[in-house]
Symmetry: C2
Subunit: 437 residues, 2 copies
């Protein structure tokens, strides 16, 4: 077939992607593995709408997050709609409405794309895929530990060799901030500097602020509260008020449960960790791997969010970014190779019955079978099969075999066998066909 | 936890839905079954963007379909974007660009939501789910037959007891229309009347039109060309020109291949079938079931669409409407019952190690296991498990058993057994645990 100039543009908008079969298969593999871990921990999948009233998506989102939301007007109702930018508020609304009469806890999972105006970078497009869970109705540190343990389990299941989980407690930082008086402008700058772990910027900021020198020193030291279990002890001396002390005690409990799970090697305590949406209210965490400079997942406690929909209820959760997981797994080369169909049936007989019967039989046994409908010579069909990553070819009605025979050809090794059609069918029926594995 | 008035609205926009775990599980089941059929026929899943340039989605869409597209402006680029209203143009573009250098045929599948402004009715919301395939690069009637055979296979695999496939050929009707001269207004009315199978309206319309009486009679008789194989013979006498004759011959070939597949019992020939987008160009078909007045799936040949993106290439495809499939299966009560987690571990021991070990072991064996972290009495925990459709409870550290024992409770039959923890663990490890099936 000849090309010609397209009548219409063929471009795709900035920040969205088309996924070809090979790319889709990788993502399906990651999704299936992750959702299977979620399922085994007792989580049940739910689905939320792709668009929502803007108000719902804005709940608990900071100003910068709100700016990233895709908005549009409903032509039929005139209402302001928005593309889903985060699943957690949607699940919170679901809990506060449709699920509010169910006994707690609720263990909910999702796999969905979200949309944010952002420069395509750091493995993230403007439409990107999240796979996450929400554990609703538990205020116990065991619930926070369950989230972190599931994140670890998922990454192990995916075969990731090296990763760590940075665990923080947003209330510790908020406690310290309560103890010092800051104008809104300085406050913003402090939060930003802590996020960037910029101790010298913090030092400059606090020079200009009156107040307790020891407290200020602690805030400046915050980015350094990063490491193993010893960080918890170091932070004891900085827990200036009740809020910070409670946060630290809570973080210690979660750490101890995880140590008990045998997971302490994966944990980094990070009290300068301010990750998260404004709705986060306790232990928060992110998963990192060596190969990438940005987190594979993020999550944490959000005890005040569901209440804003009228049903006060503690909760915690986390989500993986599918694309980043993919990059991390590709960097470690642990993704399985792409496979097309198991068989291509190449049939030169005018009577198609044998080929159809074989295709049906193989499909009944769970094999994937494409039939070569196009007319071409055998080398042409085999080249097609190889290009489509098809594992084996079954050739009927060719010069190399008799009428009641078929050629079974392994397209990787080029090894071939001649079988009687009858005998081959019996092998398939009995489940004996294992060639090649 | 007490309720309070929500600070924010909890409503969801018109025409979109929240799916709770039970509802999601049903849809996941249908998707998995259908995609598994597609996979076994050698189709590979692809993913397209949720939003696109409007031009791409408008290609081959009629005026009424274009009006249904959700449009919005990209705040960053000022370009006009649109939510995906149909997957086929997106796949066509993918074939004409990213996939154009691959040998044909391409067998592509997808499962995705699409968006259309429409009154929520007939099982369809404004956001709804489609599961479909596209078979690219084959002009042979065998390709059309493959699509119809796959639709039948999918519906059988889902357990639907009664259904039929209405098969038409849009070129037959177009051929007849070529042979008669109609103004654009009358033409539109004729198409609409044929679509509604309104023979008396057709009679009225053609009274006012000059031309060959026999031809007009044929057009009026078109809605009656509906039934078994005999319709093909009946239509022979109406095939006035080359276009109509070729269409009929093509339809006959497809019918014969399907009869050869053993599927003729499912087929209804419908030459008044004008289903489809303007891009359809040959055999088209829809699946119907008794319980619903609208089709479960639709599809057909579209040989001119990919060319509009610069790569002329024949193609055919079809898609199921997930929600309608669900309704049909519910009407026949053939969907499996909802199941929550396999096990709830209820642990009254202060030392959690035994419970954690058991949970890990069961999960390694593929069971789904929720742990009851909340503190409540045994009846409370069992009531929770039942409400969450959890199959079995494992109780540790309760009065009814010793320290090294557990109670295994079937929550459906209320039958319970006491096991030693050690013995039970061995049963799980060895794969011997089959209770209850």
């Amino acid at each position: 077939m000849v090309s010609r100039s397209p009548e219409v543009q063929t471009a795709i908008p900035k920040g969205v992607r088309v996924l070809l079969p090979e790319e889709t298969a990788k993502r399906r593999y990651i999704m299936a593995k992750t959702l299977s871990v979620f399922r085994r921990w007792g989580f049940q999948e739910v689905v939320t709408p792709t668009f929502e009233y803007l108000d719902v998506l804005s709940v608990g989102a900071g100003e910068d997050q709100q700016e990233k939301i895709f908005k549009f007007v409903d032509r039929q109702t005139g209402q302001l709609l928005a593309l889903r930018s985060d699943l957690t508020p949607q699940v919170a609304r679901m809990v506060a409405t449709s699920l509010r009469h169910r006994p707690l806890p609720l263990r909910l999972a999702y796999a969905a794309t979200v949309f944010r105006y952002q420069e395509p970078q750091a493995g993230r497009q403007r439409e990107f895929f999240q796979i996450g869970v929400e554990l609703i109705g538990l205020e116990q540190p065991e619930a926070d530990a369950e989230m972190i343990a599931m994140a670890v389990e998922s990454l192990k299941e995916l075969g990731l060799g090296y990763f760590q989980i940075d665990v923080g407690q947003v209330e510790f930082f908020r406690g310290l901030m309560d103890a010092v008086e800051l104008g809104p402008e300085v406050r913003r700058k402090v939060i930003s500097a802590v996020r960037r772990k910029d101790a010298s910027e913090l030092e400059l900021l606090f020079q200009a602020v009156p107040g307790d020198d020891r407290l200020k020193e602690c805030l400046i030291a915050l980015p350094g509260l990063y490491g193993g279990k010893e960080v918890l002890a170091k932070a004891e001396g900085m827990a200036f008020n009740q809020r910070a002390r409670e946060a630290l005690a809570n973080l210690r409990q979660v750490y101890e449960i995880l140590a008990f799970y045998g997971l302490s090697d994966y944990l980094i305590i990070d009290l300068g960790e301010t990750y998260g949406f404004e709705y986060h209210s306790g232990v928060v965490f992110e998963a990192f791997t060596k190969a990438l400079g940005y987190p594979l997942s993020g999550g944490g406690r959000y005890d005040d969010l569901i209440g804003r929909f009228g049903y006060p209820c503690p909760a915690t959760g986390f989500a993986f970014d599918l694309e980043r997981l993919l990059w991390a797994l590709e960097a470690e080369r642990v993704l399985p190779a792409y496979k097309g169909a198991d068989f291509l049936i190449i049939d030169f007989n005018p009577d198609k019955r044998q080929a159809l019967r074989l295709a049906r039989l193989l499909r009944e046994k769970g094999y994937s079978v494409a039939r070569d409908i196009i007319k071409r010579d055998l080398p042409g069909s085999l080249a097609y099969a190889r290009d489509a990553s098809i594992g084996r070819a079954i050739v009927l009605g060719t010069a190399g075999c008799k009428k009641d025979e078929l050629i079974l050809k392994d397209l990787l090794s080029d090894r071939e066998e001649i079988h009687s059609i009858e005998g081959f069918s019996q092998k398939v029926s009995s489940g004996e066909l294992r060639w090649p594995t």
